[in-house]
């Protein structure tokens, strides 16, 4: 962070440290810019674009979380263009994924008067819940592809590299190597990914079971040996021979 420089945000003159982002400068000035993928302790990638702002002289809108302030920069955080982008991104999100456990995104819905049913043709992403390990489940129907889990599994924290992507574009999903079960991957179950997931797509298994209506006693009865006995029973009933 260098010398303070002067910028204008929404007609307000703001002093900001050279090298700081528009988001940081706005926060310091008490101007709220919404974010979704951004996390203070992860590398910012400017993915969600909900933080875009209008910077005079720029052809396109600029993501506040990564664009650094320049001396004399004139920034508008709530122009019609900005609002349209934010509202539409929210509407597209709602038509793509299950946001029921993303209260912060739901709040933005109200702020931007977004219509969750804006896209009746939309085919949401709804892969099945992956329950392949004793520690956490992966419900990618709730995944907004903020990349935080991939980043903390890699250089942002853990250097484990157990997950990356499958597919591309709209069909992108977080995945292990050839979609192998997590225990066969390099995963060390640190749960850094669970810790940064903003939408409940990654969730401790015990929380998931509790939400499904199991009582704590029932949950704690699900020991390995009991689960295995149950599995064996199922196998026997399917294949009596």
């Amino acid at each position: 962070m260098g010398e303070p420089i002067s910028i204008t945000i929404d007609q307000q003159t703001v002093q900001a440290a050279a090298g700081s982002t528009i988001l940081e400068a706005a926060r310091q000035a008490g101007i709220h810019i919404p974010t979704i993928c951004y996390h203070d302790y992860c590398t910012a990638n400017g993915l969600c674009r909900i933080c875009v702002v209008d910077v005079e002289g720029s052809r396109t809108l600029q993501p506040a979380c990564v664009v650094q302030v320049q001396d004399g920069m004139v920034i508008h955080t709530r122009t019609e263009r900005v609002i349209r982008s934010r509202r539409t991104i929210l509407e597209m999100l709602a038509s793509s994924v299950n946001l029921s456990e993303a209260p912060e995104i739901q709040d933005l819905f109200n702020q931007y008067h977004s219509d969750a049913s804006r896209f009746p043709d939309a085919e949401p992403r709804h892969p099945a819940v992956i329950d392949d390990n004793p520690m956490y489940i992966r419900d990618y129907a709730k995944c907004i592809l903020c990349w935080r889990c991939v980043q903390v599994c890699a250089e942002d924290a853990q250097f484990t590299f157990a997950i990356n992507f499958s597919g591309r574009g709209y069909e992108t999903q977080i995945s292990t190597f050839y979609e192998i079960p997590m225990p066969e991957s390099t995963c060390v179950f640190c749960g850094q990914c669970v810790g940064v997931c903003p939408t409940g797509a990654l969730k401790p298994k015990r929380q998931w079971l509790l939400e499904m209506g199991y009582t704590p006693d029932e949950i704690m009865s699900l020991t390995r040996s009991q689960r295995q006995r149950r599995k064996r029973r199922e196998e026997i009933s399917q294949n009596p021979a």
Binding site: V196, G200, P216, S221, Q228
Partner: protein, 720 residues
């Protein structure tokens, strides 16, 4: 979406890193653990144990009612009772009265030498302070120790000898500030996972160079600039050869040596014989690597050394640690940010338990018991008549068990520890446990040691009580009650006070040592009155963030790194060293060297993690063996093997992996079905009394599936 009733900040109960946790509770059930991202210790990162490994609290096998054995136990015929049917559920009143009666009976008959206690590096500072106070002030014995004896005792002794203080000199997170660091006898990705993250970031993002010196090809080798694959037990030759090179090439820090150290000449002349050629011969490490490592460390602007139990757990553990200290003194890499001598402490509160006096030679604050002035200070604090406290050094962990015989130790009180898994040469330990006259177990589960007990006192878990832990970088942090104690279980500090009062009244002591605390914060304050390093710590000061000791006054900000101006003993002392081989060296009958240790998913004797879903992740013991050795012995990955030492034999599955080097096998010690410590030797370091866990010689032969323990039905997990 599940809403938490409350989210309570606390400190992780597993390793010495001391990660900050937030426990999310619903209807007294912890369903999620998170960590604040602004935590100075772990920045929101956790490992599998911290994030998911707390469920032992709710395990069905947990004991939450006081128990007394149905069948009275006699010395020499004592049995293990794992089954609840062998125990009688009793009231707290009955359990404590019974315990007090038996303890007093033995004490009055045989005196203080018959009494001994194992404190616990998992329990809080307050619990440990009170338990050692109980045995010192009431039973007048210094037979007080805990598992530090089995982990860093030699590091502690060496640091005391050379510097005069035994903790990590710097903060772990400072690894990002060094340009070269040596990692030896430590596998942080499994044992100090969050420090491992900081080390990886130091290499990948801050340009630090890493030198790994280890008999195992641990994961951190992937991040290393140099890897020195030493044979177990060749630490002194390798590090002394580095010193030899540094001396020979004039890479040492003369000014530092002159201003801040002593005994340099004697040390330097003892290094003459440690040529790189000699070290290569002993260690099997290419001499060029040793020379490169010496130059890299010596010419660093800031160099640091991190070590864990590979250094101290040896019959020459003290010398091993001294060889590292010599290097740091020679180069002046101590007393600045990003440098230092950093023994990574194992347990969440091993630093704190040691600080709190859970040691046979020291009162709290490392005040030697055999110095009159210290004894007087504590006599005054505990309202004891002058001369009342025992001035004799007590027995260490291993010595306590060795002294179990008529005329020796008769009564043993175990809080939380599990010597029947953690002591070396368990067959010997078993005999000694059987010979006890009276055994108290205070724990969460009936583990292999508690199964021998006469009385079982159900303790509250870390989430069910208040207190403090002191982590590996001396940070005193809060532990908070999050849920109610399960069943009738009670916090350790309450059990101890209740029992101590009953014992005191039976002994007709004129003054009570004082046991009427309303809250653990009062215990810490009491300790701080006589322990200057803790004098400035109050609960209200550490609600948000812990303080690093020393904290001598109420306005002191804590001490991130030590020795910037002076060493506790004044000048730091170089030590001349000799090469001493391991107690056992490989031979025709026992051609392989066995090293023991931990895996990421489990904790020590397994009392907690094997009662957790963690056990699903790593359900059975595996022996790491190098592909070349495996091929030679006809062993396939996953096939059962029998491992035999001079002391015992176990059967477990082999994992064929290059993670271990040729000639070395590795077995974690968590699994009672294949307890690694049946094999280890109880030969100890003469100065620190620490056993040689890292080098027993063994023979490995193929075994049959039938020989494997019966209840193992899971496949070993795959690891890429």
């Amino acid at each position: 979406m599940l809403k938490a009733d409350k989210v309570v900040p606390t400190t992780c109960p597993y390793c010495g890193v001391g990660c900050n946790l937030e426990l999310h509770v619903r209807d007294d059930f912890i369903f999620k653990v998170t960590s604040p991202f602004n935590s100075v210790v772990n920045h929101g990162n956790l490992c599998v144990k911290g994030r998911f490994g707390y469920d032992f609290i709710y395990n069905k096998d947990r004991i939450t009612v006081p128990l007394i054995r149905k069948q009275p136990q006699k010395p020499g015929q004592r049995t293990q009772a794992f089954d609840r049917s062998e125990w009688r559920e009793v009231s707290w009143e009955e359990a404590l009265e019974y315990t007090a009666d038996r303890l007093v009976e033995i004490y009055q008959r045989d005196g203080s030498k018959a009494m001994a206690v194992y404190c616990c590096a998992k329990a809080t500072n307050e619990d440990n302070y009170l338990l050692q106070k109980f045995f010192r002030a009431v039973f007048r014995t210094n037979n007080v120790d805990h598992c530090t004896r089995l982990c860093h005792a030699a590091s502690v002794v060496a640091l005391q000898m050379a510097i005069g203080s035994a903790a990590m000199s710097n903060t772990a997170a400072e690894v990002k500030d060094c340009d070269v660091f040596i990692l030896t006898g430590s596998n942080p990705t499994e044992n100090h996972p969050i420090i491992a993250l900081q080390m990886k970031a130091a290499v990948e993002k801050h340009g630090a160079k890493l030198i790994v010196v280890d008999p195992r090809r641990i994961e951190m080798v992937n991040y290393a600039s140099l890897y020195l694959p030493i044979r177990p037990g060749s630490d002194v030759p390798v590090f002394s050869a580095m010193a030899h090179v540094i001396l020979k090439e004039n890479l040492y820090n003369l000014r530092f040596i002159e201003e801040r150290t002593e005994n340099f000449e004697a040390f330097a002349s003892s290094m003459e014989k440690f040529t790189p050629e000699f070290a290569e011969q002993i260690s099997g490490v290419d001499r060029q690597l040793i020379i490169q490592a010496a130059r890299m460390y010596a010419t660093a602007r800031n160099g640091a050394i991190f070590w864990a139990l590979g250094i101290p757990e040896s019959t020459h553990g003290t010398a091993n640690a001294l060889s590292l200290i010599n290097l740091a003194l020679l180069t002046g890499h101590v007393g600045r940010k990003g440098t230092g001598l950093n023994p990574l402490r194992g347990q969440n509160n091993v630093q704190g338990a040691s600080d709190s006096g859970a040691m046979p030679w020291h009162y709290p604050g490392y005040q030697a018991v055999d110095i009159e002035e210290n004894a007087r200070r504590w006599e005054e604090a505990w309202h004891i008549e002058p001369g009342g406290l025992n001035r004799q050094r007590g027995l260490t962990t291993t010595e306590i068990l060795a002294a179990v015989h008529p005329g020796g130790v008769r009564a043993l009180y175990i809080m939380g520890e599990n010597p029947m898994m953690s002591e070396p040469n368990l067959n010997h330990t078993r005999k000694k446990m059987q010979e006890l006259e009276f055994l108290v177990a205070q724990d969460l589960f009936i583990n292999e040691s508690g199964a021998f007990a006469d009385v079982f006192l159900p303790a509250a878990s870390w989430a069910e009580k208040d207190g403090t832990f002191t982590n590996t970088d001396r940070r005193v942090q809060r532990v908070r009650q999050v849920i109610y104690p399960r069943g009738q279980s009670r916090p350790d500090w309450q059990i101890i006070c209740d029992l101590a009062k009953r014992v005191e009244s039976r002994l007709n002591r004129p003054n009570s040592a004082y046991w009427d605390y309303n809250h653990p914060s009062e215990v810490l304050e009491e300790m701080g009155r006589c322990v200057p390093d803790y004098a400035g710590i109050r609960y209200e000061r550490i609600e948000e963030m812990g303080l690093q000791t020393p904290v001598p006054t109420l306005d002191h900000p804590g001490t991130p790194y030590l020795y910037s101006e002076r060493f506790p003993r004044g000048r730091a002392k170089f030590h001349a060293l000799e090469y001493v081989p391991n107690a056992e060296m490989p031979d025709e009958d026992y051609p392989l060297v066995l090293s023991t240790g931990r895996v990421l998913e489990h904790w020590h004797g397994g009392t907690l993690t094997r009662h957790s879903w963690m056990d699903d992740l790593f359900p059975e013991a595996l022996m790491d063996i190098h592909p070349a050795d495996a091929a030679r012995l006809g062993i396939k990955d996953g096939s059962p093997v029998r491992v035999t030492s001079r002391r015992g034999a176990i059967v477990l599955r082999a994992k064929v992996t290059t993670k271990t080097n040729i000639g070395v096998v590795f077995i974690p010690f968590h699994f009672r079905e294949a307890a690694a410590n049946l094999l280890t030797t109880d030969a100890v370091d003469p100065q620190a009394k620490i056993p040689e866990y890292k080098a027993a010689v063994v023979r490995v032969t193929p075994a049959s599936e039938e020989e494997l323990a019966a209840d193992i039905d899971s496949q070993p997990r795959g690891r890429y």
